[in-house]
């Protein structure tokens, strides 16, 4: 099953490699991993999307908790949560028919065109991973020039929060 694990970790140079190293050393999957500093500059927040049986996920959370740099951990998937991922996609946009079609599609997906040249569009889109996949699928492969995805991030609904 797919799980989204959010972590508060010490904002130190080795923390990321300890966490990434744990996943490779023990053969766990990483679907995506995002990391950035929080409002407290000594802490980073990391979101890891992983898959595994309940037993594997239990081991993953225990092993992560064991790392000295991990301050706090939460498995988002255990409760209600909101998940988003951001994507930039650069597509070939030649000729007025094609440009209009891409513009229409982007409106349907509530994507924004953020850069335009004579031959290309650069589009920004936020949503669940499925939504980003769906958008990519609407555009013919040969017209996709470049895709940049941020990886998922998540936040719990309601009062519950991952803070110190």
């Amino acid at each position: 099953m797919r799980h989204i694990i959010s972590l508060l970790v010490e904002n130190e140079s080795g923390a990321l490699s300890r966490i990434a190293g744990l996943f490779s050393a023990r053969g766990y999957n990483i679907e995506s991993l995002t990391v950035a500093t929080t409002e407290d500059p000594t802490l980073s927040r990391m979101t890891i999307v992983t898959t595994g049986s309940d037993r594997i996920i239990e081991q993953i959370t225990k092993q992560l908790n064991k790392l000295i740099d991990v301050v706090k951990l939460q498995d988002m998937t255990e409760g209600d949560y909101i998940e988003r991922e951001m994507m930039f996609i650069k597509v070939r946009a030649d000729g007025s028919d094609q440009r209009a079609e891409i513009k229409r599609l982007s409106d349907i997906f509530r994507a924004r065109i953020i850069d335009v040249t004579d031959t290309t569009y650069c589009i920004e889109l936020t949503g669940s991973g499925d939504k980003l996949d769906a958008y990519i699928n609407t555009i013919h492969d040969k017209n996709v020039i470049e895709v940049v995805r941020s990886g998922s991030m998540g936040i719990t609904r309601g009062e519950k929060a991952l803070t110190l």
């Binding site: 080795g14 300890r18 050393a25 000295i68 110190l164």
Partner: protein, 583 residues
């Protein structure tokens, strides 16, 4: 007090109560060595290879319970130390490894003797630190000791760039008595409700088995374990790492379990209805086939490390916390409990266990004209009255030592259980001898293992460490040969140790005494002679039977009740009558 980084390191070690540092100098640690030279409180032991330094510190720690301290230089100094760091990591031994690093400004430039020590050691340390600022040095060292020695212990490496230790830069120093780390708070106290449930289950058992591991020794919980086991009257088996936590000579002890465990321990595991695991981690050498592990048992598991629980085997009642505290709580609860152990069922169970014991699974041919390795350990046990510290290397000799030397006290049996590191025995014996200069310290080894760290014979001479090396010399990598005999149709690929040195002459050239024994009749006297030379290192080169195998043996991935047994055991099993008694 204004001190340089080097002086801070030495002063800190002194304030922390460190007696010995095991190390080897080099460019990046020259400032530190200069500071060591100017004092006598912290004694430095110069090894002959950094692997020896880590094993010696490790042996010192296993024997004393105190953390071992290592000092190595950058680059090859750090990489040579890694085998010993990984050894300590697998067996949860607290080590502090201080490694020199190239100056901060040169990190990442592929400087001479530069290696990313933090990156190289990351997978095999509990934690590691790079010191970036001299003002953080003392606190970082304190954190290293704190992390290494608390919770589930383990090695911690502190990488120190050369500029941090420069003699010109001095800062005020005060010993940090304690440190707080928001991200590190090991659980110490077991959950009372879980402890209660565990006692309820234990007292309802009809065929109980207690299985204890190295966690009892690391947690200094031997007395508490003994109390609980004696109160219950249940059989107990130990892992390779747990030997000595419960007396080897106690009637309730059924010996070691697992791949080369006793017949009675493994059969008991297979048939028990309640398994009580204390400070053990269900390693694959213990469990064999996990799907057939203790098929009828409800399982209780005490461990300080939550990630050990239900990692390999699902347990019914997990208790996270310190073994000492939890066992002592359990002892009280057992006294207060309205239920008593089921004596009728227990009697039946012991009867069954005794019938397994009567088969004498460790029997070997005592009339052989060759020296049997088992008899060497038996002789060692007799001559040292079972009171020696015994270190070992890895292979058949290690298993024979574990089976035939009955340890009555914890911290006497010192071996690399998890990583299985050949070369561990001699340097770890040095660490033990430093800690207990008056005690008999024997290194049980083989002609393969001893050659992996034999250079430390030189360190033994320099620091006057009269350990006894008992070399079971069968001219084979015995355990490899055994597996090749069983599983590769006797194709002995590269397991024959050809071109062996003359170990007697070799010992002599290192300034020690060498004795060779080839005749079973000479064994006892030679052993007595070796241990009578209190102030000399004696290398006892015992020429043993090349064909002997370690029995019983559970093949990797098989169930506990399917053991290969020795020919002598087979003879006795064949003579059992239908009532289950020996004819």
């Amino acid at each position: 007090m204004e001190l340089s980084g080097s002086e801070i390191i030495v002063q800190f070690l002194k304030d922390e109560g460190v007696e010995y540092v095991f190390g080897y100098p080099g460019g990046a640690v020259l400032h530190i060595y200069d500071a060591i030279h100017n004092q006598e409180d912290v004694k430095h032991i110069l090894v002959r290879h950094e692997q020896g330094a880590t094993h010696a510190a490790d042996g010192y720690s296993r024997a004393t319970g105190k953390p071992g301290v290592v000092l190595v230089t950058s680059g090859p100094g750090a990489t040579n130390a890694i085998t010993g760091i990984a050894t300590a990591h697998m067996d949860s031994i607290p080590l502090i490894v201080l490694s020199g690093q190239v100056p901060s400004g040169m990190i990442g430039s592929d400087a001479f003797q530069e290696v990313d020590a933090i990156g190289c050691t990351r997978p095999c340390v509990k934690h590691n630190f790079l010191v970036k600022d001299i003002n953080d040095l003392a606190e970082t060292l304190k954190k290293a000791f704190y992390v290494a020695t608390t919770g589930r212990p383990g090695p911690v490496l502190v990488d120190i760039p050369k500029d941090i230790t420069a003699p010109q830069i001095k800062i005020p120093y005060k010993y940090p008595k304690s440190v707080k780390m928001r991200s590190y708070n090991p659980t110490v106290k077991g959950h009372p409700r879980q402890v209660k449930k565990a006692v309820d289950l234990l007292l309802s058992a009809k065929r109980p088995m207690i299985y204890s591991g190295g966690g009892v020794i690391l947690g200094e919980a031997s007395n508490e374990l003994r109390e609980v086991v004696h109160k219950l009257g249940y059989p107990i088996t130990q892992t390779l790492m747990g030997l000595g936590a419960f007396p080897g000579t106690d009637k309730q002890n059924v010996g070691m379990l697992g791949m080369h465990g006793t017949y009675e321990a493994n059969m008991g595991m297979h048939e028990c209805d309640v398994l009580f695991a204390v400070g053990a981690r269900f390693d694959d050498r213990i469990t064999g086939d996990t799907s057939k592990f203790c098929p009828q048992a409800k399982i209780i598991h005490i461990d300080i490390d939550p990630s050990s629980i239900s990692k390999n085997i699902n347990v019914d009642i997990p208790i996270v916390g310190e073994t000492k505290q939890i066992l002592s709580d359990m002892a009280k609860l057992i006294d207060e409990h309205k239920e008593r152990p089921n004596q009728k069922a227990l009697q039946e169970w012991w009867k069954r266990i005794h019938s397994w014991q009567a088969q004498d699974c460790l029997a070997f041919d005592r009339d052989s004209k060759h020296i049997k390795p088992q008899s060497v350990i038996e002789t060692l046990y007799q001559v040292t009255k079972g009171e020696a510290f015994v270190t070992s290397d890895v292979g058949q000799h290690q298993m024979f030592a574990a089976q035939f030397y009955l340890f009555d006290e914890p911290r006497r049996w010192i071996n690399s259980g998890g990583l299985g590191t050949m070369g561990f025995g001699l340097p770890s014996a040095m660490g033990v001898k430093l800690a207990y200069p008056e005690a008999d310290v024997a290194c049980v080894t083989g002609e393969g293992s001893i050659q992996m760290c034999i250079q430390e014979l030189s360190t033994c001479l320099q620091y006057d460490l009269p350990v006894k090396v008992v070399n079971l010399n069968n001219r084979y990598l015995g355990m490899v040969r055994q597996w090749q005999e069983f599983f590769y149709e006797k194709r002995y690929s590269h397991s024959y140790m050809d071109a062996l040195p003359d170990f007697v002459k070799l010992a002599e050239s290192y300034g020690h005494v060498g004795i060779r024994v080839e005749d079973p009749a000479d064994l006892h006297d030679a052993m007595v002679e070796a241990f009578a030379m209190k102030d000399r290192v004696v290398f006892l080169d015992v020429i043993t039977d090349q064909t002997e195998n370690v029995y019983p043996m559970i093949q990797a991935g098989a169930a506990h009740n399917s053991m290969e047994i020795s020919p002598e055991h087979q003879k006795r099993q064949n003579s059992i009558n239908p009532e289950g008694e020996l004819a």
